[in-house]
Structures are given as C-alpha cells and as structure tokens.
C-alpha cells in the first residue's frame, strides 16, 4: 500500500519560483497532497508541485530546485514536493530512474550532450519528454548494471560510467544511526518504507511535527527510538517495521560532553560510575537480562559505554537511567547525579515566573516544537494574542501569559500534549527565603473551605479491620 507521495521529497513552508517570471503558472487544482502526487506522476512534464495545506490546493511544476534559473523562497502557506529522482545524488537499483545533474564521468571526463552527435555519433539514445535524456547529465537508458553513464567529450573515449554511488553507500551512519540523514528508503529485505507523515498502512507515534529533531523526512530510514540501527515502517500491511541496510562509517565519532562527576544536557555523555537509583536500589548490569529483559545489549550499542551497571542514557531520555535490580521496578532515573554547574548559567534564563520573558526559545523541555500562539491546530488555544494582547505572544516563542508559577510555556505541535513548559531555566537568583515565608501563611483551618472532596465514611475507616 505505497502512497504516491513516496516518490516525492517534501520541503516545508517553501515555494519554488523562477528567477525571472517565465510562462504563466499552471492553474491551481483542488486536492490532497496524495492526489496532487498522483496527478504529477501521471503528467510527463511534472517534476514537483506546491501544496497549500490550508486550502487543499496544488499547483504542478515543470522544474525542481536543481533546474536552472529558479529560487527557493520561504512561504508558510506552501509545502514543496519534488520528485526524489531529480534531487537525489545517489542511485537506487541500477540507476535507470536517476534524474540528477551529474555531468562528468568517474574519470572526470565531461559528458557529451545527448542531442549532440559529436564527438560521438550515437543516434541510439535521443532525448524525448519521457526518457529523461536531458542536457549532458549522466543517465542509464539501457539499464546498464554499472549504473548511469554518458558519451564523453573525449574523442578517444566514446562512453564511460559516471560512478554514482548507491544510496545505501552514499551516506554512512555512526553508532546506531540516530543521526543518519541519508536517502535509503527501502528495508533490508527490499520492502519500500512508509512515509513518517502518514498513518497508513501503519499507525505510529513518530510524527515529524512531534519529533522535529529526529529527521523523520519523507519515507527515509531513520532511528527515532534508539533501536540498533535505522529502520522504517513498511508499505506492506503485513509487516509493520523492519531494519534498513545502511553502511556503518569506518571512523567512530569521539563522544562529546563526556563527564564523570556530573551530567550535561540529557546526560548522554555521562561516563561516571553511579550505579544505584535515587532510592538506593542497585542498578541491573547492562549485559544481563534479569530481572528485566531489554534490548540495550552493550555489543549492539558500542558508542553508549554500557559498562557494568552504571547509570547511562543510551536512548535520549531526559537524564541518565538504568534498569533496576528490583523485579517490580523496571527503570529508574538517576536524578541524584548532579547537573554540571557551568551549564546552569549558560542557557537562556528567565526572572521571577518568566512573565516578562521575551526570548526566542520555541521548544518544550522535551524538544517538541511549540504551536504558534495564533494557530488553532493541533490545539484550540484558550490563551491567544487576541485574549492577551499585552503578553507579546509572537510566533511560537515560549511565553508566560497566565503568570504560571513554573515558568514560560507554550501549546505544542504534539496532538497529545496540549501544553508543556519550555527548555528555559530560571536565572540563578539569590536563594529563596525559607518556604514558610515564601509560601502562603497558614490560615486558620476554618477559613479554608473545600467542596465535594475529602470526605469519607469514617465508619468504614474504623471497620477497616
């Protein structure tokens, strides 16, 4: 159940414009992005299309960002979808669908234009609107197993391969591939991947809006959940997800932010030896499967230093954690490892409750992008620039319009999280006075009144035994 959008690469909030206005633009047609993709695929001259999500209109385009005399412009109303084959600089299979702009051979010889008959007369492969033989770009019209080739401008060399890499080799991955951003879009058994921004054929929680920094583009293999290596949901309804084959880089990156006595950020670089939880329960060894079975096997996560039973953060959680040796407590965070002091004063901070914060942080503490204050989806706001004109509710910047005592917050782009606090810390202000002074003085009990709560049948209490 592949979507026609699988052939396209999406660029958000982007418009493709000719540098010099050329022919009048084609009229916009109504339709979903998938319907537009189907129309573009059926139209020989179409290589891309604009899709206006709000009005559900699309406009087919005869060019991509690699075409001459075009420019990309930011435009929040449009998403630009371009045919992958025209954008990729690597090949899938034998490369017969390659439509990139490489025009030199593997030895560096310039390619001859396909329509030209000199220096090499070839009359076999002549350009047509359908066969993609344009300019002097490398192409593979005869399905040569060595991939795209061209006639060369060297009179002594009639034709030569262009040496374009396979996509699965073009970009390698480090560690478990969490940062992999290559263009592999098939699983290791050859099944095509499902797009991350679609919920069919498989519903899933990894929506690109919710995880903007996981690179969940189009239907490329990614590793958003700290699996062993990049994977994807598949277009086969009978097979939910599968690993992809991606080359491992020869050089292992040096870990950064390595600390032993404290932790920075989420503690992914923590290499200390704390091995108990906050409540003193010993941690389980990473190389053991009892009492808790898990998939964080040290050999499969060589970059995460899963030694002994030390607190570590192999999966991008909020802080170092471990499986515990207590059978009924699977996981516990090691919050008792202190945060490195220099970090505390390095980030943006806010004073008081942050009601006067006017900075530009626009992510929640979990890294979810904030919803613009003026938007109505995915959450219908109760607080907006209309209801709070004086609160500087610009763009999707974190703000504190309701003087929330826990600091700046925002509505989020995660449909399941209406609001959350932002990744901003209070500035280091002089330590507060003892709580009794700060907190509400204790009114006499009879002043405080409660309604419909806190009452029980005291007889039951006595009859408890």
């Amino acid at each position: 159940q592949r979507s026609p959008l699988n052939d396209f690469q999406r660029l958000r909030a982007t418009e493709l414009l000719p540098a010099v206005p050329a022919e009048p633009p084609r009229p916009a047609e109504r339709g979903s992005a998938e319907q537009c993709a189907r129309r573009c695929a059926a139209s020989p001259g179409c290589r891309a299309f604009h899709h206006d999500r709000q009005s559900q209109l699309c406009q087919l385009l005869p060019r991509t960002q690699h075409s001459p005399r075009v420019q990309l412009h930011k435009n929040i109303h449009y998403d630009l979808y371009q045919k992958k084959d025209y954008l990729r600089d690597c090949i899938v299979g034998n490369g017969s669908s390659y439509r990139g702009t490489r025009a030199t051979t593997e030895k560096g010889l310039r390619c001859q234009h396909w329509h030209a008959m000199t220096p090499h007369d070839h009359s076999r492969f002549l350009p047509s609107p359908r066969n993609g033989l344009e300019e002097n770009y490398c192409r593979n019209p005869d399905r040569d197993k060595r991939g795209p080739w061209c006639y060369t401008m060297d009179p002594n060399v009639r034709h030569q391969s262009c040496g374009i890499k396979k996509c699965e080799d073009a970009v390698c991955m480090t560690c478990n591939g969490e940062e992999y951003r290559g263009a592999v879009d098939h699983t290791e058994s050859g099944i095509e991947c499902q797009r991350w921004d679609l919920q069919h054929p498989h519903k899933h929680p990894y929506h690109p809006d919710k995880y903007p920094d996981k690179g969940l583009d189009d239907n490329y293999c990614r590793n958003p959940d700290s699996s062993e290596r990049p994977w994807c949901y598949t277009t086969d309804p009978g097979r939910e997800r599968e690993y992809c084959r991606v080359r491992l880089c020869k050089k292992r990156p040096r870990p950064h932010n390595v600390t032993t006595g404290c932790f920075r950020g989420k503690g992914e670089g923590y290499r200390g030896r704390v091995n108990v939880t906050v409540s003193g329960i010993p941690c389980q060894r990473w190389d053991s499967q009892t009492p808790h079975r898990h998939h964080f096997v040290p050999e499969k996560y060589p970059c995460k230093d899963l030694q002994e039973n030390y607190c570590r953060n192999p999966d991008g959680s909020e802080a170092p954690w471990c499986f515990t040796a207590h059978a009924s407590i699977r996981i516990a965070f090691c919050f008792h490892i202190r945060r490195c002091p220099d970090e505390l004063d390095a980030q943006e901070c806010y004073h008081g409750h942050g009601e006067r914060y006017h900075g530009h942080v626009s992510k929640t503490r979990k890294g979810i992008t904030c919803q613009p204050w003026a938007a109505h989806e995915p959450h219908e706001p109760q607080i907006s620039p209309v209801t709070h004109p004086e609160a500087h509710l610009e763009e999707n910047y974190c703000r504190n319009p309701d003087n929330d005592s826990h600091g700046p917050w925002c509505y989020t782009m995660d449909p399941r999280t209406p609001f959350d606090y932002c990744a901003i810390k209070p500035c280091c202000e002089p330590p507060p006075a003892p709580p009794a002074k700060l907190l509400t003085p204790t009114p006499p009990a009879d002043v405080v009144a409660f309604e419909e709560c806190g009452r029980r049948d005291e007889r039951l209490q006595r009859k408890g035994r």
Binding site: S328, S405, Y421, A436, C453, R456
Partner: protein
C-alpha cells in the same frame, strides 16, 4: 506501608501495569484525573496502553466478582514541572463516586500545612510483615515544621518538599506505595498535601520522611485539567 493497619482511603488508587500487577499508588483528584509520581514511569512519553487504575476496593488483588471494584484504563500521562517529580494520569472514563470512591481535595496554592497536623499515608506496598499486605494499609504521620526538618536533614530539604516526623515505632511508606497520598485533615476534609516518592530506606526511625509538597503545583494540576 510499614507500621500501618488496614483502613479506608477512598481516593487512593492502585496503578497496574499490562500484566495487571500493582506497582504504584496514586490519588484521585478529579473523576478522570489521578496524581502520582514521575518515578513510577519510564518516561513522560511512556506508552501506557494496557495500564489501568483500580479503585473502590480495599483488596490489592480483589476477586473478579467484587461489586465495588472499578478498573479504568489510563489514556495519557502528563509530566509536571521538572523539579516536581509529579505526573497526572488521565483516565479513559470518569470514575463513579460512591461510598468507596471519593475525590481528595487539593490545597490552596502555596498553602503550608501547619506542623503537627494529623496526616496519613495509604498504599498497597510492602508491609514487611507489620500488617496484612493483601489489603490497603493506612498509617498516621504528623507534619514536621520545615525548619526542624531542614535542621535534621542538614539543610537538604527543598522548598518543594514537605516532611513528617519520624516515629520510634518505624512507620512509613515503602516499595509499591510511591505515588500515593499524604492526606491531611483540614476543615473537616482530607487534603492532598504530599505525594510519596522513593526514599533510600523505608520507615526510618531516625530521620523525617520527605514528600512532594502538592500546594506548590496546584496551579499546574488545575491547568492540566483545564487544558
């Protein structure tokens, strides 16, 4: 609960994992909302499919025919401000309030419960032989003044924490009670003043017990329910 005895606490809920095993406590603050602690869950993004709360019965594992038992799936977890260690759990449907299921009150914002106030903790956690572990146990603890507690714990008590005095008889929460309530009687109503969080030793006789001070987070709790 160590040093408690079987009792009734109609707002205390049992939180159970996919295998139906009790692993933490919580407090019913609205028909569809339970307050518990962050330490009970792997992450704020935890997939709680199959997790549920059990209310209305004193038994940890009631027989299927128990007429008062209510079992409601959990649909969502919302983590509190980072230092709060609190979470709110949204239930798939409202709990039915009756003689065995009641809401606990929330304190006024930043309210400080007076030292010496009579409070109680409740849960189905470890009893270490001090009581019947198959039913809900309740234990009484008196609030300790913040200054005294700070002195006893060498200045390590945070503004977001609330203390109760240690009792020579060894009374306190233990594994399986985390997330449950410290309820205090104010104006004839039981109010959720604290939430039980893990401590290094259960029921210490030589140190105060720490709880998360709920009154600091009432605005967040109300906001979550409103939003």
């Amino acid at each position: 609960i160590i040093g408690g005895q079987p009792g009734n606490s109609p707002w205390t809920v049992s939180i159970r994992n996919r295998a139906g095993v009790h692993f933490c406590g919580g407090s019913l603050v609205k028909e569809q909302w339970v307050v518990s602690t962050r330490q009970c869950f792997a992450s704020c993004d935890a997939d709680l499919t199959g997790y549920e709360v059990q209310l209305g019965t004193l038994f940890k594992d009631p027989s299927p025919g128990d007429p008062d038992q209510q079992t409601i799936p959990i649909t969502r977890i919302v983590c509190g401000p980072s230092e709060s260690q609190l979470v709110m759990l949204k239930l798939a449907r409202p709990a039915a309030l009756n003689r065995r299921v009641a809401l606990i009150c929330l304190p006024p914002e930043r309210y400080v419960v007076p030292a010496g106030t009579d409070c109680e903790i409740a849960g189905w956690g470890e009893t270490r032989g001090t009581s019947d572990g198959s039913v809900l146990n309740v234990a009484r603890l008196p609030v300790l003044a913040h200054g005294e507690c700070n002195a006893a714990l060498r200045g390590r008590v945070k503004e977001s924490e609330l203390c109760t005095a240690p009792l020579r008889a060894g009374v306190g929460a233990c594994e399986g009670d985390y997330g449950g309530p410290l309820a205090c009687l104010t104006a004839d109503c039981w109010v959720l003043e604290g939430v039980i969080t893990p401590s290094r030793v259960c029921a210490r006789t030589d140190q105060p017990a720490l709880f998360i001070r709920v009154s600091l987070y009432v605005d967040w709790i109300q906001k979550v329910m409103k939003m």
